[in-house]
């Protein structure tokens, strides 16, 4: 079976947990630090801990930025920061250009009383998708972030966390690029189910 590529976004990322979850689901992984490793993988996952500028910097350092941006061969899943850097730009600490896959910008969450936005939150699905097979509407996933995707294109937002009069983008999709603001590898059984759905996408 071919392997799942986990993009190395620098020492800031939590690859261990993600790697652990993927192996638990029965798949093999490669940590991608160089462009020539991409041809060996059947899917790509961009993990996410850290900051927007640091994430982008590390991708460019390893010559992976353009490669991911232009990747059409297989499905890609961005997790937390991995989803955020798919946007046009981010404003964490300083203005940084993103992969420009998704419409929208990443800015500090200002609409909620708690910051970071952390804990298990109900996710409302706007439409059906193979990523969500077998997962009930309003299932809870684990979020931990201070920045969110704003000014996005509604059709690119697959799911949201809804609050009174406001919402936080939770799942994005553009062509073969998926993004999840939450951590499926940390969301218990339901997170593992979503991850499994992704890994099984044809």
């Amino acid at each position: 079976m071919s392997k799942i590529g986990i993009i190395y976004t620098g020492e800031i990322s939590n690859i261990f947990s993600l790697n652990n979850a993927i192996k638990h689901l029965g798949f093999d992984t490669i940590v991608i630090k160089r462009p020539n490793q991409i041809k060996h993988v059947s899917k790509i996952i961009i993990p996410g801990v850290g900051t927007y500028p640091a994430g982008i910097k590390n991708l460019k350092k390893n010559n992976l930025f353009k490669l991911i941006r232009d990747y059409k061969k297989n499905y890609v899943l961005g997790i937390c920061l991995g989803m955020q850097i798919m946007s046009i730009r981010g404003f964490e600490f300083k203005k940084t250009n993103g992969l420009k896959i998704l419409r929208g910008e990443v800015k500090r969450i200002d609409k909620l009383s708690e910051l970071p936005h952390v804990g298990f939150k109900k996710v409302f699905f706007n439409k059906k998708d193979n990523l969500l097979k077998g997962i009930k509407q309003n299932s809870e996933f684990y979020f931990t972030h201070s920045f969110e995707l704003k000014n996005s294109l509604p059709k690119e937002i697959l799911a949201e966390v809804k609050y009174t009069k406001k919402s936080i983008a939770a799942i994005t999709k553009k062509n073969k690029f998926y993004g999840v603001q939450f951590h499926p590898e940390k969301s218990g059984q339901i997170g593992l189910k979503l991850l499994k759905n992704f890994l099984n996408l044809q």
Binding site: E11, I12, S13, N14, I15, F16, S17, N20, A21, H24, V49, G50, T51, A54, L81, E92, F93, S113, E114, L115, P116, V118, G119, F120, K121, K122, E140, Y142, T144, H145, S146, H183, E185, K186, S187, G188, Q189, G191, L192
Partner: protein, 245 residues
């Protein structure tokens, strides 16, 4: 909004232990086994604190942490003896999702919080406070309840928040492990005087369901942390979650 129930595992030399009022040590068992059990029972998160790392100036126990993180698919916070950014990188690399800092920031270098938040993101950095009442004020302690600082808890919480801390774990040295209920006075004071956005996690002292009901009624917290009541099987995770809903 759903409330989080978090289990705290205090680790000494590879075992889960349970101090009472942050002293004495009752050996509870194997960290990975216990964490996995709580995970299967539906706990929302696990906090692992190495309670002798700062005190004995020991290296962080990476082996134990790796074993724990391999078996659970929920957020894991690791604390104990964190002094530099490299300590944090190493912990994230072995499965910690968040790290918890107290002693070094409180007693030596508060800028560690700023630097850590800047490098790893605030959501990754929490602070585990050890709070004790002395005369009419609450103060913060370090080194697992052993060393006094003259920082008043209200001031320190405000400072931590302005330095970029993600969440704050409120442990009461006077109530922790007592099974007699939470430090409601402390929590009320904090709720009254503090208006920060950093989520607060309320811990220490839970012994029966009435304690949780009272906590919900008085404080209505979003996050609650427990240890002894679970370690000694006095309540199940299911029971507690049902009560705090």
């Amino acid at each position: 909004m759903k409330k989080r129930l978090i289990a705290k595992l205090e680790i000494k030399s590879g075992d889960v232990v349970k101090p009472i009022f942050f002293e004495g040590l009752k050996k509870i068992g194997n960290p990975a086994t216990i964490a996995n059990f709580y995970y299967k029972q539906g706990i929302d998160e696990i906090i692992l604190i190495d309670i002798v790392a700062s005190l004995y100036r020991r290296e962080i126990d990476y082996e134990t942490i790796k074993k724990v993180s391999k078996k659970i698919f929920i957020p894991l916070t690791v604390g104990g003896g964190i002094k530099k950014l490299d300590d944090i990188s190493k912990l994230l690399a072995i499965g910690a999702d968040k790290v918890s800092i107290n002693t070094h920031a409180l007693q030596n270098d508060p800028s560690l919080i700023n630097r850590a938040a800047r490098k790893f993101g605030s959501q990754c950095i929490i602070s585990n406070l050890e709070i004790k009442k002395i005369e009419n004020n609450w103060y913060c302690l370090s080194d697992n309840g052993r060393i006094f600082s003259n920082r008043k808890v209200i001031d320190w919480i405000k400072e931590l928040s302005s330095r970029g801390v993600g969440e704050i774990l409120l442990q009461s040295v006077d109530f922790d492990g007592s099974l007699n209920g939470f430090d409601y006075d402390l929590f009320q004071k904090i709720k009254e005087k503090i208006n920060v956005r950093s989520p607060l996690i309320f811990a220490s002292g839970a012994g029966n369901l009435k304690h949780f009901k009272k906590l919900i009624k008085i404080i209505n917290p979003n996050s609650i942390c427990v240890s002894r009541v679970l370690h000694e099987n006095l309540l199940s995770i299911k029971q507690i979650k049902k009560t705090i809903k």
